[in-house]
């Protein structure tokens, strides 16, 4: 995949080739999105109504925010799945952060303190992941173990019962809105903007891509591979925690065991972002688009009257479609 970026002309003195217009296939990702959403809009008059669209955005917020965290990990760790960066614990971390927040709020801590406690726990889990990874453990295995730990802690903290989460900030996150935009969408927008700025516009972001695509070259160039990788897991933990708090306030309760259910969607969203990139790399705006698309897909299928069992199959086929596009485009650019 990285070959597309490394196509730098040698020192032959030849004029640098002008940047070609992206081929038609490069827009295939957007094409699929527009096509599918268009079918939904034709099929159901309700799909394009503002209430429905805002509820789609609402659902997209949780996967989008957690997906951004995972995207940062994949960017910094490389996108080879067996050896590169992956955070399997992000779903469980989100669930745990939601439970901790709800329990802290129920115990009488103020909303702010409750949220901070939840986020601190999530950051600690991220730090555990990061420490294990920079010690040399494969991310897949390290985060697998952390996932088990976080799932278990979630049960311990919540005592395996729903913990209600209501009032104050949490009520606002569920129902509040500013200028017609639901609060959770605002949170998503802020998270997306900040991380897009950090990844695409700062040296830290460029270094992260460098570390992920060729860590040896990056370390010879003087970048601290370990520090970048460690930070990426902490960021993933914190963003997972924010997503968890958001999810718990949307459901007005922390539901134990929800982390395992949202993990697959988060992974799907983060990997799908490659389709919305001209260079076939994981990126932040693509993650947000993918989150909105996946939420819209589930919503649209339901509106069309498709049984909910098919939604999972549709998502699976979707990943395969996405990957097929990536593979075909990768072959073309490699030539």
């Amino acid at each position: 995949m990285s070959t597309a970026i490394l196509e730098i002309p040698g020192d032959t003195g030849a004029p640098t080739p002008t940047r070609k217009r992206p081929s038609l296939l490069a827009w295939a990702g957007y094409g699929v999105v527009v096509l599918v959403l268009g079918i939904f809009a034709l099929g159901s008059p309700y799909f394009l109504q503002w209430e429905n669209l805002s509820s789609v955005l609402n659902q997209a917020a949780v996967f989008g925010i957690a997906g951004i965290g995972l995207a940062v990990v994949i960017i910094t760790g490389g996108d080879d799945v067996l050896e590169g960066g992956i955070d399997l614990s992000v779903g469980a971390t989100a669930g745990l952060a939601g439970s901790v927040t709800a329990v802290a709020a129920a115990a009488g801590a103020g909303s702010l303190r409750a949220v901070l406690t939840g986020l601190a726990v999530a950051a600690a889990l991220g730090a555990l992941n990061g420490a294990a990874v920079i010690l040399g453990l494969r991310p897949l295995l390290a985060t697998l173990a952390t996932m088990g730990i976080a799932t278990s802690l979630d049960l311990v903290v919540s005592d395996n019962i729903k913990v209600a989460l209501d009032g104050g900030v949490f009520l606002w996150l569920r129902q509040g809105s500013i200028a017609g935009l639901p609060a959770s969408v605002l949170v998503l927008a802020v998270a997306a903007l900040v991380s897009w700025w950090a990844v695409a516009r700062t040296s830290w972001g460029v270094h992260s891509y460098a570390v992920g695509q060729n860590s040896i070259a990056a370390s010879i160039a003087g970048l601290s591979v370990a520090r970048h990788r460690f930070m990426s897991y902490v960021i993933s933990g914190v963003l997972g925690g924010i997503a968890g708090v958001l999810l718990a306030s949307r459901l007005s309760a922390a539901v134990p065991g929800i982390g395992g259910q949202i993990l697959l969607d988060i992974i799907l969203v983060a990997y799908m972002s490659t389709v919305f990139s001209r260079r076939l790399v994981v990126n932040i705006p693509g993650t947000v688009v993918a989150a909105i698309f996946v939420a819209g897909l589930a919503n649209g299928l339901t509106l069309l009257g498709v049984a909910s069992q098919w939604v999972g199959a549709a998502k699976g086929v979707l990943i395969l479609l996405v990957l097929a596009v990536v593979v075909v485009r990768g072959r073309n650019t490699a030539k």
Binding site: L82, E83, G136, R138, A145, S224, Q309
Partner: protein, 366 residues
């Protein structure tokens, strides 16, 4: 060379440099052995610890019971070992287990004969492998993502086939005796499941360890390019590894259906995480960090005894996941840490656990 030498100084974590310079007091053989001893030591510690905490733990009855409970996990993990040895991963093996259990339970419920149910069950398991192989070898999709999407599709298919996830229960008198014997039979006072799991493990272990095919699988997994250049048909070998993995998963599913006398959707998926953990714990046993069937079985034994011990001690279900996660993390981390300060000759040990970056920096520093 000088160019590469200089910036070495600001490498993030000097891997083995400082430790190698320190006087070696421990004999070299010992140090290369240490990481391989972690899993046995952990197993011994678990046995010792729980036997002190609970008097029944070390009784023969309990240990045999543990073996019976572990049989299905052992089968799943053995299947996974084949794929990991071939350099891939199969997240959809739980789907193979589920679909096989679903098919055989449904056929028995409809009154088919036992052998029909068993064969169709195995076929359904194999089908998952066919899809995986087509995606991974045919379309060149990375194994993790291909099998992840098969997991999505497979769990959706299960819900469709069971009308939204309704469990199938078999009434005892109507189950043919041959089918019941598969999961609940006894052979000379030994739980039949243990016997079948042991036979399958022995077969796969011999296949991987002693045959030409096993060597090809190993080479394909560790040096795919070299294997291809030297004339091995790596596509065929990869396909056969995924097919075998799913077939073993399907067998585990048929046994699961017979043992639980029915089918509960999603029950096979629960084995996946423990199986992955067991396979990679097993890799610490090998000098080359190679996954192997005996190693996997030791990993399964660690998980099984740990769960059983925690149950006997009366630890609540909530804490058990924490215990398993901590043990998994501790074993794997110790493996990495102990093998990191080894002389360069055994640097390959870290191959399976470290990323290429860490590996290569370790090589350049030495």
């Amino acid at each position: 060379m000088t160019i590469t030498q200089q910036p070495q100084k600001n490498l993030p974590a000097p891997r083995s440099e400082t430790r190698e310079l320190s006087p070696v007091t421990v004999p070299r053989r010992w140090r290369s052995l240490a990481p391989r001893l972690i899993a046995p030591v952990a197993l011994a510690a678990i046995l010792l610890g729980f036997s002190l905490l609970s008097p029944v733990f070390l009784s023969v009855g309990n240990l045999v019971g543990v073996l019976g409970q572990m049989a299905i996990l052992a089968l799943v993990a053995t299947g996974l070992t084949v794929v990991v040895r071939a350099g891939g991963i199969d997240l959809s093996i739980g789907v193979a287990v589920d679909l096989a259990a679903l098919a055989s339970a449904a056929l028995i419920a409809d009154g088919y004969r036992a052998w029909v149910a068993i064969v169709v069950g195995l076929f359904f398991g194999l089908l998952v492998g066919v899809v995986n192989a087509a995606l991974i070898v045919g379309l060149r999709i990375p194994p993790f993502l291909a099998t992840l999407s098969v997991w999505f599709i497979g769990s959706s298919v299960q819900q469709l086939l069971t009308g939204g996830g309704a469990p199938i229960y078999l009434s005892k008198p109507r189950v043919p005796i041959e089918f019941a014997l598969l999961g609940r039979g006894y052979l000379l006072d030994v739980d039949g499941v243990i016997v079948s799991a042991a036979l399958v493990a022995l077969f796969i272990g011999a296949l991987l360890g002693t045959t030409r095919w096993g060597r090809s699988v190993t080479v394909t997994g560790e040096q795919p390019t070299a294997a291809r250049i030297s004339g091995l048909r790596i596509n065929r070998i990869t396909v056969s590894a995924y097919l075998l993995c799913s077939l073993v998963g399907g067998f585990a599913g048929v046994i699961l259906a017979s043992r639980t006398n029915g089918f509960v959707p999603g029950s096979g998926q629960a084995y996946l995480m423990d199986a992955i953990g067991a396979v990679f714990i097993g890799a610490t046993l090998s000098r080359f960090s190679r996954v192997s069937v005996p190693g996997t079985l030791m990993g399964v034994l660690i998980f099984g005894l740990l769960s059983n011990g925690m149950n006997l001690v009366g630890l609540s279900f909530f804490w058990q996941g924490l215990g398993r996660g901590v043990v998994l993390l501790a074993i794997l981390l110790l493996g990495v840490l102990l093998s990191r300060n080894l002389p360069s000759g055994t640097g390959i040990l870290t191959r399976l656990f470290t990323r290429p970056a860490a590996r290569s920096t370790a090589r350049t520093t030495t």
